[in-house]
Amino acid sequence: MQSTTHAAAGNHRRWGKLWRATVWTVMGFFLLNVVFMILTVMVNSVATRWFGTLLPEGLTLGWYGRAWDEFQLAHILVVTLEVVASVVVLAIALGVPAAYALARARFPGKRLVMLLILIPMLVPPVTYGIPMATAMYQIGVGGTLAGVILSNLVPALPFVILVMTPFIEQIDPGLESAARIFSANTFQYFRHVLAPLLVPGMLAAGLLVLVRTISLFELTFFTAGPDSQTLVVALYYAVFSTGVRAPQAIDAMAMIYMAITMVWVLIALRFVSPTQLVSRVKEAPREA
């Protein structure tokens, strides 16, 4: 390493300061854009008329009622609830046993199974969604609630397995031996030993899947019929038809969507770290 004189060190500190200032300015600009973009939606949803001025001419809450009626939000919210609840329950019910097998058992074809679980996480929904929707329309579940639930299961199930496998791996295998000594079979071991220990992990996985399913657009968009639209798909159609509907009513609907999502995100963030919301493939669990 070269010897640094005082002047060079001072020079370096100045550059360091300038660099840090640049980084924070760019980041601050980005965050402000995000925050004000959301504020725009908020303000517009309660605006009587807002065009080219800093603030709207007046405030009203009327758009929420209009959005509720015009977009049939009651029905859409019921559908959304049905879809999200079914996806979470099915993904947990199928995913947790699979994660247990991957964490503890050795069986032929394990690598292949791992691959089958990773690929749906890596391929974006638009890419596989179109052939999937086609196949669903072919067998008659396309355009129905069942079709929407099944299509949303494709990214949700691998996600649960990937979250739960490391979680199960860190549970002491000695507990299983102990249960076996007292002649518990696999089901009894699951029911009385493993399940209680898994609750925190299942809660986290369930919340993550819930948040992701509420905002997953593409698969629902491709497979939903007129009666099986979820909130995010209905929002898309509303934004798409901006000329027809009042923008304030659309933003009121967007606010309802945002409020529902954010409540669940805040609940989820009590149990998981922000990184877990995104890192679908941070570390593929290695073969035991």
């Binding site: 965050l31 699979a98 089958l116 000695g174 031996s177 995104v278 941070k282």
Partner: protein, 291 residues
């Protein structure tokens, strides 16, 4: 039976069957539709060669150009996202309040999704929205600010929706690097820039190429924002729009599947290119220097 016995359980352990229901579901919902898509992509609607759908895609300029239109959005978006994520994640590598605040704000755009971002952007960046009011108020630009219904709208939406994802991924890689390595370099006289350049960057490369590959694949599949914020008939007619139109407007499912398969191949190619690039310019530890 002891823990060691369990670990040496015979191959074909019966507990392995617990994976079967999940495998069946994924085979039925993911693998079967994929195979079905491949098969029908070789059955063109109006007869002809089995390659007719693919030939049509690669010889019709409006279809073929979607590849280039998508690339023109995905490549800059990925570069911006990774380029911004690295310095910010480096500055926030230590667990601090600042890190928590930034990550919490960034979770918002991720969880809200592209449709809501598109809706917000349509008002915020519109020629009469707050953003252009600010630009005009500061006299930065005298003409009308046009950032929606064109290329720029889609690019901005890709940065807003994908940067947080790349950033959180990069942050988790960077905070996984043992800080004592940099401290040791510091005692030997390396300044922050040298620590970054010689310690962090080499250890980050594997993670960064992963983040870049994921970001590219995601931005290459841009769909709702290209319609809502772009010019879906013109410069932002991306490949997913072409596939969507073939399937749900022309009801040509074979053609739609062919386009989806081309899209998947393009994504695969770029990912391979990113990893080949990494291999050509960098050899080092395959895992980040954890603990």
């Amino acid at each position: 039976m002891s823990a060691a016995d369990l670990a040496m359980a015979p191959r074909g352990d019966r507990r392995g069957w617990l994976v079967a229901p999940a495998v069946v579901v994924l085979l039925a919902l993911f693998v079967y539709p994929f195979i079905y898509g491949v098969v029908i992509s070789f059955q063109p609607m109006d007869g002809g060669s089995i390659w007719a759908n693919y030939i049509h895609f690669f010889t019709t300029s409006t279809e073929f150009n979607t590849l280039w239109a998508t690339f023109k959005l995905a490549a800059p978006a990925t570069l911006i996202n990774v380029g911004m994520a690295v310095p910010v994640a480096f500055a926030l590598r230590r667990n601090s309040r600042k890190q928590r605040i930034v990550t919490t704000i960034l979770v918002i755009p991720i969880t809200l999704g592209t449709v809501l971002i598109a809706d917000g952007m349509l008002t915020f960046y519109s020629p009469v929205g707050w953003f252009s009011q600010l630009v005009h108020g500061l006299n930065l630009y005298s003409q009308e600010v046009r950032l929606t219904h064109n290329y720029w709208g889609v690019l901005i939406s890709l940065v807003i929706s994908d940067f947080p994802f790349v950033f959180l991924l990069t942050l988790s890689y960077i905070s996984g690097i043992d800080p004592t390595l940099a401290k040791a370099a510091g005692t030997l006289g390396a300044n922050t820039w040298q620590q970054f350049r010689l310690i962090y960057l080499p250890l980050l490369v594997p993670g960064l190429s992963m983040a870049a590959a994921l970001s590219f694949v995601q931005t290459f599949a841009v769909f709702p924002s290209a319609i809502l914020l772009g010019a879906p008939a013109g410069p932002t007619r991306v490949i997913s729009i072409a596939a969507y139109e073939a399937a749900f407007e022309q009801y040509d499912y074979g053609m739609a599947s062919a386009i989806a398969i081309v899209m998947g191949f393009a994504q695969l190619l770029i990912v391979c290119a990113i990893f080949a690039f990494r291999r050509a310019f960098y050899t080092g530890p395959a895992t980040s220097g954890k603990g």
